[in-house]
Subunit: 354 residues, 2 copies
């Protein structure tokens, strides 16, 4: 459940009339986008909120209030780069497949591009995406082009004891581990079982263009339905391992602790961030002619069909939203709900998805 | 490779003539045990070395120099209890099978005991067992009796998304996680794949006796071929999980960092402690009539047949040891090698196993 405060007595600026951008494969009717209705401003947006990085002039995320396209443009798609953005030379780049395999080998970019071509349209968010902290800007939906990952692993012939594949990036930094410092590369792993069940690809294009440096040029992993951290950028090695990989981004960061009740006891469980948990996010609230509010937003899942989105003002009744679900289960859905006009003043609008 | 220093010019005490204790299932010939030969003392044993805890009067590990039985007696079998030893009432104890299962259920101790009875004779060591630090005393070989774990999981009918089983113990303590403190129970997990391939049991007997409190009364897990940490004591819950469990003893402690060379780069890889890595440990060195040294010790694997053990004095040639391998692949093997007499003075004796 995501909660936003909206200052309903103020209805400052109207949204710009926004042209629909490229909507290939799934065309939203106009009603899903900002209308000419009066936009109700949110009170939870800090004065200095911006998605533009002043130094790089790049957009570092999606301002959901401006959501107007089903595919998120590259420069509105959030970037997290724990060790900065490395420069990789595509001409000398290669991908090593190694470790617990009978047939280790390397691929050049050209060799990868000669393999089966696959597209994945999927939305993902950062494991740390939260409304209060960063206004849910760490989310996007894009079309990725590359080649399926599972066959590359299969062709390497994992040995019987291979448990998982470690996805190694070219980006590196120094990590304090107990009493010593070690230079390490970014890496994530996934079990071979999870990989076999996934539609993961090695991607070299985003929205029809070669990956930019920020998004992992020349090749990144895209695992539809998983949190962003699994989509390793600047990939240069696939390592089959008999042991669980326990690097920083697998076992220390991107670990969630959640409390749950078991009888009269609260149990605290730490688990790894992997598949996306169903979530809805409110993008805009507008006032319709007559005063009712129209709440618009996006919801995403791990590929499981979205059942419902409901919207609520303060502690009022939950109102079912209309959902437009794209044919591709990994892309986000947009939703819109009409709720009765509340009294003047500050209110909280919330949404929940199942 | 394990290295020990032995002060060869001193030949202080002879080992006591030790009667062979119970050797059921696998009888070692007398030659494997301490003979009347002169014992060569090790110089790496601290003055204050003892396996007896002064406060509890309990033995907290095996003094390998005294190794004289194939099965390690309960009070010589090492104990690690991160949150102390809890008192569990067997009359009210139950084991919950829960989480991502279609058929959750609970078992009393009597109900477990009515299930298929299974024995596992296996040796395991602590993931932190090291010659320099703790003189390899965190090792033992015992016979455990209980019931196979995998069928209990199968009968609970894991849902399609169940990835692993979390083994929860009754012992608990407070953990600092980022900025907050949480009360947590000891727990480890293993993938359902690993579980299916393993001979894991839920054990309530050790060497033919009910478990003592220190060894996990009333029920602990025993996973043959895995490090000690996996053998969760005071077990009270089996939780099927769709996510990787990342508690302290899975993801922060019992994580190994190892360097390896990849071209001109050293890669540091962190992995989880799971299956035992093949290892040999020297127990005693004796001087034979004529001056040659007889090096005696144990080796263990994850169940993979032991191929060889070799012994070396200083940087001299490796000498193949004679190995007596028990029929059960999970139990330790004992080895003995004869090496030529070195010059008087301090020397290093080492062994390696494959």
């Amino acid at each position: 459940m995501i909660s936003r405060r909206s200052l309903l007595q103020q209805a400052g600026f109207a949204s710009a009339a926004l042209a629909m951008s490229e909507l290939p494969g799934f065309a939203f009717p106009g009603e899903w986008l900002h209308s000419q209705e009066e936009v109700v401003p949110f009170t939870d947006v800090p004065e200095n909120f911006t998605t533009i990085n002043a130094q790089t002039k790049r957009v570092s995320g999606l301002d959901l209030r401006q959501l107007n396209a089903f595919l998120t443009p590259e420069n509105n798609f959030f970037v997290v780069a724990h060790y900065g953005v490395p420069t990789v030379d595509a001409a000398t780049w290669k991908l090593d497949v190694r470790g617990r395999v009978a047939n280790p080998r390397s691929y050049t970019l050209d060799e990868l591009k000669k393999r089966t071509r696959a597209q994945r349209e999927c939305s993902f968010e950062c494991g740390g995406n939260r409304a209060p902290a960063i206004l849910n800007r760490m989310i996007g939906n894009a079309r990725w082009t590359g080649t399926p990952l599972a066959p590359i692993i299969q062709e390497a012939k994992p040995t019987a004891d291979a448990l998982e594949v470690v996805l190694w990036g070219a980006d590196e930094g120094e990590e304090q581990i107990r009493t010593e410092k070690f230079r390490q590369n970014f890496a994530r792993s996934m079990t071979l079982n999870d990989l076999a069940k996934s539609d993961a690809i090695l991607a070299w294009e985003m929205n029809g263009q070669p990956l930019t440096a920020e998004h992992g040029f020349p090749v990144r992993v895209v695992v539809p339905g998983w949190y962003g951290v699994q989509n390793v950028k600047w990939l240069n090695s696939l390592e089959l391992s008999a042991d669980r990989f326990m690097g920083r981004f697998q076992a220390r960061d991107y670990v969630t602790i959640m409390g749950r009740q078991n009888g009269d006891k609260t149990e605290w469980v730490e688990t790894s961030v992997t598949k996306i948990r169903t979530k809805s996010m409110i993008a805009t609230v507008t006032r319709r002619p007559g005063g009712a509010l129209s709440v618009f937003g996006v919801a995403l899942t791990d590929g499981t069909p979205l059942k419902s989105v409901d919207v609520q003002i303060d502690e009022g009744p939950w109102v079912a939203a209309k959902i437009d679900t794209p044919p591709n289960p990994y892309a986000w859905s947009w939703f819109r709900a009409e709720v009765p006009a509340p009294s003047a003043g500050a209110h909280t609008v919330a949404s929940k998805a199942t």
